[in-house]
């Protein structure tokens, strides 16, 4: 195990006003989500339904994917299958190279981040322009997204003014969000007009219709795919849902959970290519079927990437997206990352107080905090947990199995504490900003015994 998250989180919290600014910005979104959810009387029933539909779909995933492929193909959509990120990138690269594409407009897709599509295409001389405003900001800054829905949430408006000044030639010292957004809009408009292909993610793929649904608030997926003749949409295998009538449940949950909006600004249904154009859907596994085969973690594939678990997570809010070693931060990323690489992401299941707010906020009822707990056990059983912690727990367990030992060590520990001699190891970390408890002379069991079975009480 490593202390990746703890170290970066400690660095993040050192600037307390900044950490509070980050916390407040995300809590604001959580409060908006609460208002949105409260406006739907059947909210909890919607969550039950969504969770049930996802569980059902995952139990027959191959069937629904093939149904989707058949129906999509008969609509004129070209469906590709990619076993992993490399195969996905190769497929997308070949489609673009065949058409001689040099500039592509891409709307938000965490999957393409996961596959490393941008560097792959750039190495082949293809310019890839992220067109979601937040994505464009982090792309210009040369940073990964720090949140799955609000990729630039870690940046203050002043920083963005400075970035635009350097990269887009806007006046120095701008910080008015309206002015900055307008500058980005003009800049992106030129990019949209020059793009020869559009790339997008997929929020939902409907098996019964063979259509895909893409949700944005900026209309950038529509701009990026309406002008050029080629549209390549990348989706994880878990994005398929059985019926078009299921969509209503997910769309209502998604927008409210993500931002508190009753509905996303743009919900676009793609059923066929543009006249004379091509529409490709690349279906990517990249480890998902492994997760599907592991019972305790299967439900994490239900995720609709709303980001609500990030916004509500008291740890994420106070440690920022870059404290997480996996590209998806927060509770859902801490569940997904270690399944991809348990050694690299061993700190993530421990980057949680297990408060359970994520599980209660999740629109598809993924039992996130219990999955984190189950992952801790995996990390222990794979011997990635540091020996000091393993030993400490073995010793504690031994002592606690023997009441005589427990009573004696309790008495010794309390007298050492009263003498101020407990200040190393975990006690030292405890006492850096906190007092240790004031150890009493007698434990409860000693009082109980002395008072003859607690009769005096």
């Amino acid at each position: 195990m490593n202390s990746f998250h703890a170290e970066r989180a400690a660095a993040f919290t050192r600037d307390v006003p900044h950490a509070h600014w980050h916390d407040t910005a995300l809590w604001f979104v959580r409060v908006k989500r609460d208002r949105g959810a409260a406006s739907v009387p059947e909210w909890e029933r919607l969550r039950d339904a969504a969770s049930g539909i996802k569980a059902h779909t995952l139990s027959r995933l191959a069937d629904y994917l093939e149904e989707f492929e058949r129906n999509a193909a008969s609509n004129g959509i070209q469906v590709h299958w990619a076993r992993d990120g490399a195969e996905h990138n190769r497929i997308v690269g070949e489609i673009l190279e065949r058409r001689g594409v040099k500039v592509v407009a891409k709307s938000k897709s965490m999957l393409t981040e996961e596959c490393g599509l941008n560097p792959y295409l750039e190495a082949r001389g293809i310019e890839i322009v992220d067109t979601d405003l937040g994505e464009r900001i982090v792309q210009l800054a040369g940073e990964p997204p720090s949140h799955i829905v609000m990729p630039a949430i870690h940046k203050k408006k002043e920083e963005i003014g400075e970035l635009f000044h350097r990269k887009l030639g806007t006046a120095a010292g701008l910080s008015d969000p309206k002015v900055l957004t307008e500058a980005a809009r003009q800049h992106l408009r030129r990019k949209f007009l020059g793009a020869q292909a559009g790339l997008s993610g997929v929020n939902f793929a409907v098996a019964e219709t063979g259509g895909i649904v893409v949700v944005t608030n900026e209309g950038n997926a529509d701009m990026g795919t309406s002008l050029p003749p080629v549209h390549v949409a990348s989706m994880g295998v878990e994005k398929v849902i059985p019926r078009v009538r299921d969509l209503g449940i997910f769309l209502r949950l998604l927008a409210r959970s993500a931002t508190g909006q009753p509905v996303s600004t743009y919900t676009t249904h793609f059923h066929a290519p543009l006249r004379g154009g091509e529409l490709h859907v690349v279906i990517v596994d990249n480890g998902r079927s492994q997760i599907l085969g592991r019972e305790p973690f299967r439900r994490s594939l239900s995720c609709i990437r709303c980001g609500a678990c990030l916004n509500t997570c008291p740890v994420y809010r106070r440690s920022g997206g870059y404290s997480y070693s996996y590209l998806i931060p927060g509770p859902i990323g801490s569940v997904l990352g270690p399944q991809r690489d348990p050694v690299a992401h061993a700190s993530l299941p421990f980057a949680s107080s297990l408060c359970g707010s994520c599980s209660d906020v999740c629109p598809v009822k993924i039992d996130l905090h219990h999955e984190l707990l189950a992952l801790r056990e995996e990390i222990r059983s794979q011997n990635i947990l540091p020996w000091s912690k393993r030993l400490a727990m073995q010793v504690a367990s031994f002592v606690l199995r023997h009441p005589v030992l427990y009573r004696a060590s309790g008495r010794v520990a309390r007298s050492l504490m009263r003498a101020g001699l407990v200040r190393f190891g975990p006690a030292g970390a405890w006492a850096r900003q906190r007092e240790l408890p004031e150890a009493p002379k007698e434990s409860f069991r000693e009082l109980w015994k002395r008072e003859g079975g607690g009769r005096e009480a």
């Binding site: 998250h5 703890a6 989180a9 400690a10 919290t13 307390v16 950490a19 509070h20 959810a37 909890e44 008291p314 740890v315 299941p349 421990f350 980057a351 949680s352 107080s353 297990l354 408060c355 359970g356 707010s357 599980s359 209660d360 707990l373 801790r376 056990e377 990390i379 222990r380 059983s381 912690k389 727990m393 073995q394 504690a396 367990s397 606690l400 199995r401 009441p403 427990y406 309390r414 975990p426 970390a429 405890w430 850096r432 900003q433 906190r434 007092e435 240790l436 408890p437 150890a439 009493p440 007698e442 434990s443 409860f444 069991r445 009082l447 109980w448 015994k449 079975g453 607690g454 009480a457």
Partner: protein, 250 residues
Amino acid sequence: MPRVGLFVPCYVDQFYPQVGLATLRILRRLGADVDFPAEQTCCGQPMYNSGCAADARPLAERFLRVFAGYDHVVAPSGSCVSMVRTHFRELLGDRPDLSALAARTYELCEYLVDVAGVKSVEGEFRRKVGLHRSCHGLRELRLGRSSERMDPPLDKVRQLLGALRGIEIVDLQRPDECCGFGGTFAVSEEAVSCLMGKDRIADHEKAGAEVIAGYDMSCLMHLDGLLRRDRKAIRVMHVAEILEEARLAP
């Protein structure tokens, strides 16, 4: 008269004996035949939450043995009760003796409200009180409705404390945000843990609380540690300490 096995979590036994005594008094005054089986130690949660299930399992088995003969098991801790009720099954599998024990193990407030059926609380506590709704009691045992869920309102702790004369329960801006204790998290993620705790305290301060009341001494131990280090006047109290002198009746 129900035979109640008093389950005093290890850290309460060692550091907060007065909370154990208060719980004992409350249960006795309600007419329960309370016993404290001295063979009890710990439910195994610290090991289990660290991923060390093999180290937690013998403690779960031991708990099962020690508390087998009681009608009810009651503890002044939401977190330890949720360990028994939610997680023992993952350690010991589906066993009839376990499901029977899990079903009759209660956190103190839920025992008072759901089992003892306490409707009337006569007593006085002339303080401004902020309720700290510890996460496991809230989101595992459902002692109240969590702010994320859109279920009908429910708050068993407030039901009990709110009836005291003179008490003023203050409104927090974030009614149930985690305090950052989190067991070993308090040490392994010390920086975030302490910032979470300080933020929680600030919320209580802004609301004018004089006392932070809760049903889990572990969270309160963390908050108390921060309060004392920063020399703040707010103090923490377990619900049992506040209800100790009150007359509870169905």
